[in-house]
């Protein structure tokens, strides 16, 4: 077996919100076309770390980082990197489904329109491909011109994933993508993650241990801004090396 390429790599990464030291010397490499899960209690830095991967934290006053994050061996914080180009490469899906108050069609092609694509045929094809990838096509193909807000929560979240896919990213960041969904919708998203990893590198933050176990190949456990343990998911959930990891995943924290 050949070792997979590291899609994303953080080296000696520190992050600060003003005086608050949110991430402490993080070193981690995330494999291409695999799912990496970040787990840890609230405030441990996992979401902060996820957001550094497409520079979502740039807008926060007082936020700064030290160290490097490499995407395909290029430093994403280098001065010549355009953030909009980076976001095309690294898409994101949030905790609560956040469709725009527009039609389903306009939601999916939103990113493409911003890129200046006007050709109706190109947009239609991209819409169908993205909706098929998220297993939503059959459910919505007859109501593409209806408001996305009329969809169920689970459908809205899959629509948001389709919207992220439409601009052809290579990495998708997911911040607790199923925490607002019922078990059936959750299962659909998890199946989807499993499908998508054939073509995309997926990084997911989750509070649901079983979800991390089911969907991810590697798991990173964060605690108080530190990366405590990073290993194959199977190893993490059967024989973690660090006692803090064990206490967390077995619910014996603190």
């Amino acid at each position: 077996m050949t070792k997979k390429h590291n899609k994303l790599e953080a080296t000696n990464l520190d992050a600060f919100y003003g005086d608050f030291h949110a991430l402490k010397n993080i070193n981690v490499a995330m494999e291409e076309k695999a799912v990496t899960a970040f787990i840890g209690p609230s405030g441990c830095g996992k979401s902060t770390f996820l957001r550094t991967l497409n520079r979502m934290n740039d807008y926060i006053d007082g936020f700064r980082i030290q160290g490097q994050i490499l995407l395909d061996d290029r430093d994403i914080y280098a001065s010549n990197v355009r953030v909009d180009e980076l976001r095309k490469e690294v898409g994101m899906v949030f905790q609560k489904p956040n469709p725009f108050p527009k039609t389903i069609f306009e939601n999916v092609v939103y990113g493409l329109r911003i890129q200046g694509i006007k050709d109706k045929k190109v947009l239609q094809e991209a819409c169908e491909t993205s909706l098929r990838q998220t297993a939503l096509w059959e459910e919505v193909k007859d109501k593409l011109d209806k408001s996305a807000l009329a969809l169920s929560g689970g459908q809205q979240q899959r629509l948001c994933i389709a919207r992220a896919l439409a601009i052809s990213p290579s990495v998708i960041l997911m911040d607790e993508p199923t925490s607002a969904l019922d078990p059936i919708s959750t299962a659909k998203i998890e199946d989807l993650i499993h499908e998508l990893k054939q073509h995309y590198t997926i990084i997911i933050v989750t509070h649901n241990m079983q979800q991390a176990g089911r969907v991810s190949d590697h798991t990173a456990f964060f605690y108080m801004g530190e990366l405590v343990e990073y290993a194959k998911t199977k190893t993490m959930f059967t024989s973690p090396k660090n006692e803090r990891t064990q206490n967390y995943i077995t619910g014996r924290f603190g």
Partner: protein, 225 residues
């Protein structure tokens, strides 16, 4: 105490209750073998049903635990170990029952000379000691003791390996005692099994405490030698 720990403790207590029942079977089995005590043998055989009920109950408890708590890491390894220790305990109970059946075929105690020659009672005491030490290892989560228990199995195997030759010689000298000698050989075989089963249980204790797989390791090492 965490709810999950309470459940694990209940499981462990149930297992120890079963352990004590099987201990009674093995300990009485020793007296039954020594004295060709049919009545005691009957009691041992009767207890088997009770042991089987524990086996089913513990299996069910483990199944529920998996379904309701989706355990991971040390919790997962503990339940897996409990499940396997349960299976081995039940088999040791079966083995004790098997020995009791042999006792029932005896019309008098074994020839003391034969018992002495084969070291059968030494073997029995050693097997009992292993069984009891293993219980202590489980109660105290003592993996060092579990490792010591595994080492004790060597002495049992040694006695077992020599028994064929000793009994063959004895039979040549005492051709009128064939059924008796064969029964004794069968009991030695059963005791050897008890040693293996206790070893399995000790290995499970090491597995769940240290996340280390020790079973099948010694065989590999032997091949290398």
């Amino acid at each position: 105490m965490l709810h999950i720990d309470e459940e694990l403790n209940r499981l462990r207590e149930k297992l120890l209750e079963m352990w004590d029942l099987v201990d009674y079977q093995l300990t009485s089995g020793r007296d039954a073998v020594m004295n060709a005590d049919h009545e005691l043998a009957d009691q041992i055989i009767k207890l088997e049903r009770k042991v089987n009920n524990y086996d089913i109950k513990i299996d069910r408890m483990c199944e529920n635990f998996f379904a309701l708590y989706t355990p991971v890491a040390v919790d997962l390894r503990t339940v897996l170990a409990m499940l396997k220790i349960n299976t081995n305990l039940e088999r040791i109970g079966d083995t004790a029952e098997g020995m009791a059946h042999f006792v029932k075929k005896l019309d008098r105690p074994f020839d003391p000379e034969l018992v002495e020659l084969t070291n059968m009672m030494v073997m029995y005491d050693q097997a009992l000691a292993m069984f009891r030490e293993c219980r202590v290892a489980l109660v105290k989560d003592d993996t060092k003791l579990a490792k010591d228990v595994i080492k004790l199995d060597k002495a049992l195997n040694k006695i077992y390996r020599k028994s064929d030759v000793i009994i063959t010689k004895y039979l040549q000298a005492n051709p009128d005692r064939i059924p008796e000698a064969l029964a004794l050989l069968s009991i030695i075989k059963k005791l050897e099994r008890v040693g293996d089963q206790v070893t399995n249980m000790a290995e499970e204790i090491i597995f769940y405490r240290e996340a280390k797989v020790v079973k099948h390791k010694r065989k590999k090492k032997k091949k290398e030698d």
